[in-house]
Symmetry: C2
Subunit: 469 residues, 2 copies
């Protein structure tokens, strides 16, 4: 009752000078409330994690995920449902083991980084040399590194904005290559993630050009603590490790696309993106089944309003975000000529935790419209978060081609507790928070597809913060 | 300053009618404050988990733990330090794997129950039949069970008193045996524990007499959820599992004992117990390195007071609590004739979480003394918790022989999140809570070793709640 009254007061206070017409605001509020009572997204997340599960690029789960998505989009009434083929690299995790052999033997909980090479079958045993960061490694005398196992000790900061991930991920991406160049026989790192459990965080890494291939393993945070405590004794610490990780050629995957056709501006697209693949350790619940559920449900609910969106809502569920952005690259290449038709893009790829902000990289003239949209999301805890929107990993190339992007931000701290670990499972999804995400995306999508004019264009190849998931 | 004032006021309020002399109370308070500033226990827990780590009965870690403990007790100034040999069964976990093969293939995070037998090398694959409890299993028609994998779905309640564990552990102990009698080919159970992570809880089980041996695996709670969601589809659900668990004869371990000799009542013993072994998945931090640290530090600090304890403080670090109470049985057998000399016993085997109560099973005439002791622990959050003390798993037999026991209770909810999982590691130990435990045990031990008279005797073989750790 109080809520209805509040809505009535806000609607009455709206003037024609505002960038959103009162009728549009009222419809957006109705949409928000409708989405908050809808469990389409929860049903999708439950189904994807239960009936498909792990779905890393090129795996049997990936193929099942594509078929699942095509069927779901059709059954939910999307138009133009299609799976656009994408070639993906296929990397196979195999098994990884590590143990401290001296001074005090203990097993270590590890996982291979995505793209790591394996060891010889007998494994590798060597003394461990701790370094904090890539810069610290570069300062080491080469003879200290050659023949040893480099252990990156740097700990990711746990913050609401996830800023610590950018620093940690640099080590994950380049640490093995840089260590290999100096003659290291293997690379260990404290996980690029904040789980306090013995579930190491995987994630993509690069192999060095020209350097001998070495295995690269992430330790769980408690295991990194243990290794550091043994090193603190001052005694030489030795580790034996083995991995059967390997590359297995390429495979066919797909970007799965479905649309809610626009009413009269059908050729203009509001893009809603998430990624369909996941790492293999968990079931990819927050990364990124929630994103799949959020954008799919948001588009469907927005399309179900009495006032149909004028522009087309296009949902793109990208192939292989995790291990090379294959789907994003394919989509950008296929749509470069049609980029002007992409009015704005939103991506959902940070889990479904507490919402807290909306950032928009749009033509500055359109910021009043952005502020008006954000105001409608205040009841969801969404403040205005400025213009430093990245669009996310899968939309980054489209942004560089000039497509405006809007980021809907949420609490990254719990996300990076689970991210890329075995613990990223359905039981960690809070239905209420998921509904709030759907409501936010639905409102932005519906308004973006309905308002007069769009969000302008961005300068091509604008320098924006790199999006790393 | 405020604390000192409070202590002064309390001391002034004490009258000679109370069961504890003012001087004893003052000394106990000084001991409590001293213990709260002492990190002996933390150093021990760090050292045991770092330099020994996993130490299941009969393993190399077990032997290292015995040597570690003898050395530590000697270096801390204990007298009569000795390792009393105990024969223990040796069970080897090996590897366990499980996966859903239909309707939707997915891997499952599992671990063998302690004492489980292995499967044939090729594993076992069969349809899964869910049952809630042992009673539910007993109600099933045998043809529904024969040739199938029984899945116990019962979920342990998460409560402060840990009461849910007693019910869950019955399934763990007897589930495989009862399922085997009905012709099941394997047993799966939702872990007897409350971790929300993909770290299944192991723990001891029994093998059925006469029934064919089958493998018994615990699923993590999220994996049990997944299996239940697939079963909820109504489609037949099949699982393939394999385990290389096996028995490997017996081994020598030891109860490690050290004493703070009493001043004048040296033959009278206040027993402080914990167990030295751990399960192998984690490093046995809360189960039971904290107990080792608590009782060792408590005895040492109590023995360091200006007013030396009149009775002997005996620390017993028991062998193989987890897989058959071997050390407890050996100690009880060796000390049955000397049971009258055991004035009272305390065990520390529930981790180092928030303290909340003191329970005492003593001669009812001595309850005023118990209440006076408990009053000195109120600043630590310890209320009076009645007379239903068990003494814990390792002291149970001594209690049945007539030894009074005092339990110092703490929050069991976080304990059973970690208990018997890979996550039971040093980083989960809160130094402040650990110091509070040491203070509580030190005060009780010092007073028990100092007051006139003891705690009377218990009737032999008193019916007490079974202690299960």
């Amino acid at each position: 009752m109080q809520k209805l009254l509040l809505i009535a007061v806000l609607a009455a206070a709206t003037t024609s000078a505002e960038p959103l017409a009162p009728a549009a605001q009222a419809e957006a509020r109705a949409l928000r409330e409708k989405a908050l009572a809808d469990d389409t997204a929860l049903d999708l997340v439950r189904s994807l994690t239960t009936e498909v599960g792990p779905r890393s690029a090129g795996s049997p789960g990936d193929a099942r995920a594509v078929a699942w998505t095509v069927a779901k989009l059709k059954s939910l009434g999307f138009a133009n449902v299609r799976a656009e083929p994408v070639t993906v690299p296929r990397w196979v995790r195999g098994e990884a083991r590590a143990e401290i052999t001296a001074p005090w033997p203990q097993p270590l909980a590890v996982t291979s980084l995505g793209g790591s090479l394996g060891t010889p079958p007998e494994g590798v045993e060597a003394e461990v040399v701790p370094v904090t960061t890539l810069a610290d490694l570069a300062r080491q005398p080469p003879e200290r590194i050659a023949g040893r196992i480099v252990f990156f000790t740097g700990r990711m900061e746990r913050t609401r904005d996830g800023a610590g991930y950018g620093r940690a991920v640099a080590t994950r991406g380049q640490g093995a290559a840089e260590a290999a160049k100096l003659g290291a026989v293997a690379m260990l790192m404290r996980s690029a993630g904040t789980s306090a459990r013995r579930t190491p965080h995987t994630g993509a890494m690069s192999v060095a050009d020209g350097a001998p291939p070495i295995a690269a393993l992430a330790l769980s945070n408690p295991d990194a603590d243990l290794l550091e405590r043994q090193l603190a004794s001052g005694l030489p610490v030795r580790v034996r490790l083995a991995s059967t990780a390997r590359y297995d050629g390429e495979a066919q995957s797909a970007n799965v696309i479905g649309e809610i056709p626009g009413r009269d501006l059908r050729d203009e697209i509001v893009l809603l993106g998430a990624h369909l693949d996941s790492w293999d350790l968990g079931t990819g619940a927050h990364d990124d089944a929630t994103g799949v559920g959020i954008v799919t449900a948001a588009a469907r609910i927005a399309g179900s309003m009495r006032e149909r969106p004028r522009r087309t809502l296009r949902v793109v569920l990208f192939a292989n975000e995790e291990f090379g952005l294959s789907g994003a690259k394919a989509y950008a290449a296929a749509n470069a000529a049609a980029i002007e038709r992409h009015v704005v893009g939103l991506e959902a790829d940070a889990g479904a935790f507490q919402l807290n902000g909306l950032a928009a990289r749009v033509d500055p003239d359109r910021l009043p419209l952005v502020r008006a949209i954000q105001a409608l999301l205040e009841p969801l805890g969404i403040g205005y978060a400025g213009t430093e929107a990245s669009g996310g990993a899968d939309l980054g190339q489209l942004r560089e081609l000039g497509m405006p992007v809007i980021d809907i931000d949420s609490d990254a701290a719990p996300y990076f507790d689970l991210h890329h670990t075995a613990d990223d499972t359905f039981d960690k999804v809070d239905p209420e928070l998921l509904r709030q995400h759907v409501a936010a995306y639905a409102v932005v999508a519906w308004l973006a597809a309905t308002v007069e004019g769009g969000f302008g264009r961005l300068p091509v190849a604008v320098a924006a913060p790199a999006a790393i998931r």
